[in-house]
C-alpha cells in the first residue's frame, strides 16, 4: 500500500510541493512554519474547492470553463441581496448562492446531456453569458465593503479551532469528495463514464445523466465559492475572478487529472491547487516580482502534463511480455 503510493504521481507531486516549500524556506525562514502554511492553505481554499468540482467534470471527459463566471455572478447576487436586505441571515444567503450555482451548473449539464453539444462549446458560451448577466443585474456598479453587513464579511474569517471557517469549509469539501468519489456508486460512475463511455452503458450507467451530475455539483460548489470569494475580499464587481477558469483547469492538470477523462484523484486535485497557491504566496516573500507568477504556473502546467502523459498501451500478446509487466 505504502509502496504503491510512493510510486504514484500524487507522491511525486507531494514531493515536489515539499521541495518547493523547503526551497522558499531556505531563502526566507519562517515560510514553512505551520502558521504560515495554514495561511497559504486558507488563501488557496477557494481554488481547491473549485478544482475539486472541475475534477468531477474532467473525469467524465468534459470541461467547465464557466465556473469563474458562475462564481462572480453568485457572488454579486449575494452581495446585492446583503446590501439591500442586511437583515437576511447568512444561512439564507448561502442557500441562495449554492442554489444559483446549481442552476447554472444544471443549465450547462442539460445542454451537454440532452442536446449533446460539446461541453467546451457550451461552457465557452455560458462563460460570457453568466458574466454578462452580472452587468445586467448590477448595472456595472460595485458593491463595496461598507455596503456589506458585518456578518456577511465575518463568516469566512471567523476562527474555529485555530483555523478560519474558510479553511474548514475547504476541509469539509475535501473530506466529502474523498468519500463521495471513492465510496459511492455515483463517484465511481464518473470514472467509468470518462474511462470508457461505451462500456459504462453495459454496466447500467447512464452516461448523460452522470455528466449532468458532474456539472451540477461543480456549479453548486462554484456558487458556494461565489459567496466565499466576495465576502473574503469584501468587494463585488463585474470582473471578479476574471480568467480564474483557466487557473482551475491548471490546478487539475498539475494534479494529474487526465484531460482525456477517467483518471485522477481527489488528493491530486488538492495538491495541484496547493502547488499554485504556494507559488503565489512564495513569490513575494522570496523577493521575486509577482509578475513572475503567470509564467511559472504556465511552465508548471506544461511540465505536469508532459510528466503525466501516458503512452497508449501496447498490446501484450507474447506470454513472456505479460509475465514481465
Amino acid at each position: 500500500m505504502i509502496i504503491s503510493f510512493l510510486k504514484s504521481r500524487e507522491a511525486i507531486l507531494l514531493g515536489a510541493l515539499i521541495a518547493l516549500i523547503l526551497l522558499v524556506e531556505s531563502r526566507f525562514s519562517g515560510f514553512a512554519m505551520p502558521r504560515n502554511l495554514a495561511a497559504v492553505f486558507n488563501d488557496t481554499s477557494i481554488l481547491i474547492i473549485l478544482a475539486l468540482g472541475q475534477t468531477l467534470v474532467i473525469l467524465t471527459r468534459c470541461i467547465d470553463l464557466s465556473l469563474a463566471s458562475n462564481l462572480a455572478l453568485t457572488g454579486m447576487v449575494t452581495a446585492m441581496l446583503n446590501a439591500a436586505m442586511p437583515g437576511l441571515p447568512i444561512v439564507a444567503l448561502l442557500a441562495v448562492a449554492v442554489a444559483l450555482g446549481l442552476i447554472m451548473g444544471a443549465f450547462n449539464g442539460l445542454l451537454v446531456w440532452k442536446l449533446n453539444i460539446p461541453p467546451i462549446v457550451v461552457t465557452l458560451g455560458t462563460l460570457t453569458i453568466y458574466r454578462g448577466i452580472i452587468f445586467l443585474v448590477s448595472g456595472g456598479s460595485w458593491v463595496n465593503s461598507h455596503e456589506m453587513s458585518a456578518a456577511y464579511k465575518a463568516l469566512p474569517r471567523a476562527q474555529m479551532l485555530g483555523l478560519p471557517v474558510l479553511s474548514w469549509i475547504a476541509i469539509v469539501v475535501i473530506a466529502g469528495f474523498a468519500i463521495g468519489v471513492n465510496r459511492t456508486a455515483l463517484g465511481r460512475a464518473f470514472y467509468a463514464v470518462g474511462g470508457n463511455p461505451g462500456a459504462a452503458v453495459y454496466t447500467g450507467i447512464d452516461v448523460g445523466r452522470t455528466r449532468f451530475s458532474a456539472f451540477v455539483i461543480a456549479g453548486g460548489l462554484a456558487g458556494l465559492c461565489g459567496y466565499l470569494w466576495v465576502s473574503r475580499y469584501a468587494v463585488a464587481y463585474t470582473d471578479v475572478a476574471g480568467g480564474f477558469e483557466l487557473d482551475i483547469v491548471a490546478a487539475c492538470v498539475i494534479g494529474g487529472i487526465s484531460i482525456a477523462g477517467g483518471s485522477g484523484t481527489v488528493l491530486g486535485a488538492v495538491l495541484g491547487a496547493l502547488f499554485l497557491g504556494v507559488i503565489k504566496n512564495a513569490l513575494p516573500v522570496a523577493g521575486i516580482s509577482p509578475f513572475w507568477q503567470m509564467a511559472i504556473s504556465g511552465a508548471a502546467i506544461i511540465i505536469a502534463v508532459a510528466f503525466n502523459a501516458r503512452k497508449p498501451p501496447s498490446r501484450i500478446i507474447l506470454k513472456h511480455a505479460e509475465a514481465r509487466s
Binding site: I179, N182, R183, T184, A185, R188, Y191, A192, G195, N196, G198, A199, V201, Y202, T203, G204, I205, D206, G262, S263, P313, S314, R315, I316, I317, L318, K319, A321, E322, S325
Partner: protein, 511 residues
Amino acid sequence: MTDNNTTPQPVLRLNGITKTFPGVRALSEVDLALYPGEVTALIGENGAGKSTLVKILTGIHQPDAGQIIVDETPTTLADASAATRAGITAIHQETVLFDDLSVAENIYLGHAPRGRFGLLDWARMEEDAREILKRIGAAINPRLPLRDLGIASKHLVAIARALSVQARVVVMDEPTAALSQAEIEELYTLIDRLKAEGKAILFISHKFDEVFRIAERYTVFRDGQMVDAGMISDVTEDQLVEKMVGRAMSAIFPVRHATPGETVLEVRDYSHPTEFADISFDLRRGEILGFYGLVGAGRSEIMQSLFGVTKPSHGEARLNGRALSIRTPADAIAEGIVYVPEDRGKQGAITAMPIFQNVTLPSLSRTSNKGFIRMAQEFDLARHYTERLDLRASALDQTVGNLSGGNQQKVVIAKWLATRPEVIILDEPTKGIDVGSKAAVHDFMAELAAEGLCVIMVSSEIPEILGMSDRVIVMREGRIVSQHPRDGLSPEILVREAAGYGATAQKESAA
C-alpha cells in the same frame, strides 16, 4: 423436435424479436428459448444478428417488435441494469472494461457490495473478486489496474464480471476466443457447474467442436433470421454448417487455378517487444497467403508493422529482393504494400466523408495538379474502382457511413486498389458483412491474384481460410506455429494448432 413433457419451462423466451438499424434489418422476427440447466448454442456467421441479439438481451438495444418473456412474464429490458435485475448476465465478445480501474472494480462496477451508510465496501469487493477469480482458475491480483493485464487475463476478468451477478441466464459471446486450452478447460468445468446450479446458458461460438462438446440445444441464425433450432444430438456438424451458410460448403468459394510465380515479399525474423516474435515467411506473385489464428494471436499486429504503423524491434522485410525501410504507412504505400484493416469504422473508412473522397485519399497526388485538387479526375478515379467492385450506392458524394457494412468494405478495398499496389494485405476482409458482399469480395480477391497481385489474407473463419488460400500460416500467441499448403489441410488441424491443444484434448473432442 423437443418433447414438452420431459423439458422444463424455459427461463427466458423471445418471441418475434425484430430490430432495424438505419439501412439494415439486423433481426427479423426471431424466436429463442433458454432452459434451466441447459446450454443452447447460438450459431451463425458474422453479421447473422448474434451480437444484436446479445445487446437486446442485455438491455443495450430495445427491440422494435416482439416479446421478451422471463419466467412467463413479458419483460422490458430498458437498460443494462434492468437486464441484470431480470437475472440476465453476459460475457461480451469485445472487452467492455475499464483500463484505469482495478480488476476488482471492473468485476463489481454497477453492483458493488455496500457497507455502512450505503458506502462501497472495498475490502469486501476485493475479497469477493479474489474468490470469483479463483473459482474460474485465474490467478489475477484484484488490486491491479486492468491496463497491466494481457488480452487473455482481461477476458478472464470479463468472465468473472458476468459471474459476479446472481443470474439465471448467462450469455457467453465467444468466450473462448482469446483463451488458452488450459483456460478453456477451466471454462468447461465452470459451465458444467453453472448447469448443475440450474442456470440457462446461451453459448455463442464459431467452433463446432466446442458446441458439440458442451451444448444440449442449438439455434441457427442466418441474415437476421432464425432458420433452425433443435437438439444437438439430432444433428451432425456438416448439417449445422449447411444450415448456417445456407448452401453446401464446396459451392461457396470461387474456383482458382493458381500457379504462384516468383517470390515478391520476404519477411525474416520480424519481432516486437510485446506483440510478436521470430516471424519469417515468403509471399509469391499471384498467391493468396492465409494467416489463421485465434483472435489476439498477433496476426494484425504483424501486418500493421509491415505497413509501418508500429515498428518491429528487429528483423527485415524485402520486396523483390530489395530491403525495405518502412517507417510510416506513407512509405509502405509508396513501396506498393497496402493494408485493408480489420476495424473498418476506426482504421479503414472515414465514415463522415463522401465515397469519392475516401477512395482517392491515398492517391490524391494522382488526381491533383501541384497540390490543387481536380474534382473531375477524382470522380473518375473513384468511379473506376467502385464500379469494378460493384458498389451499391446512389451517388459518389454519399457519405460512407450511410452505406451497408459490405459496401463500406468495398469502398475501403477500392481505396487501396486505386493506389495500384503490388502486395495487398486484407485483415478479416469479410467480417460482419452480408453473404452477397462476402461472395463479391471473395471473387474479387481471386481475380486480383489471377492478375498477379500478391494477397495476404488474415482470417479467423476456417471456411474462408480453406476456401481462399494457396498456403496457410497458423499463429498462436505472437508466433508462427506452422505453414501448410492448402491441399490436405483440415479444420481440425487448424483449430488444434491455433489453440495449442494437446493430443489427448484433440481425441476427446473428436470422440
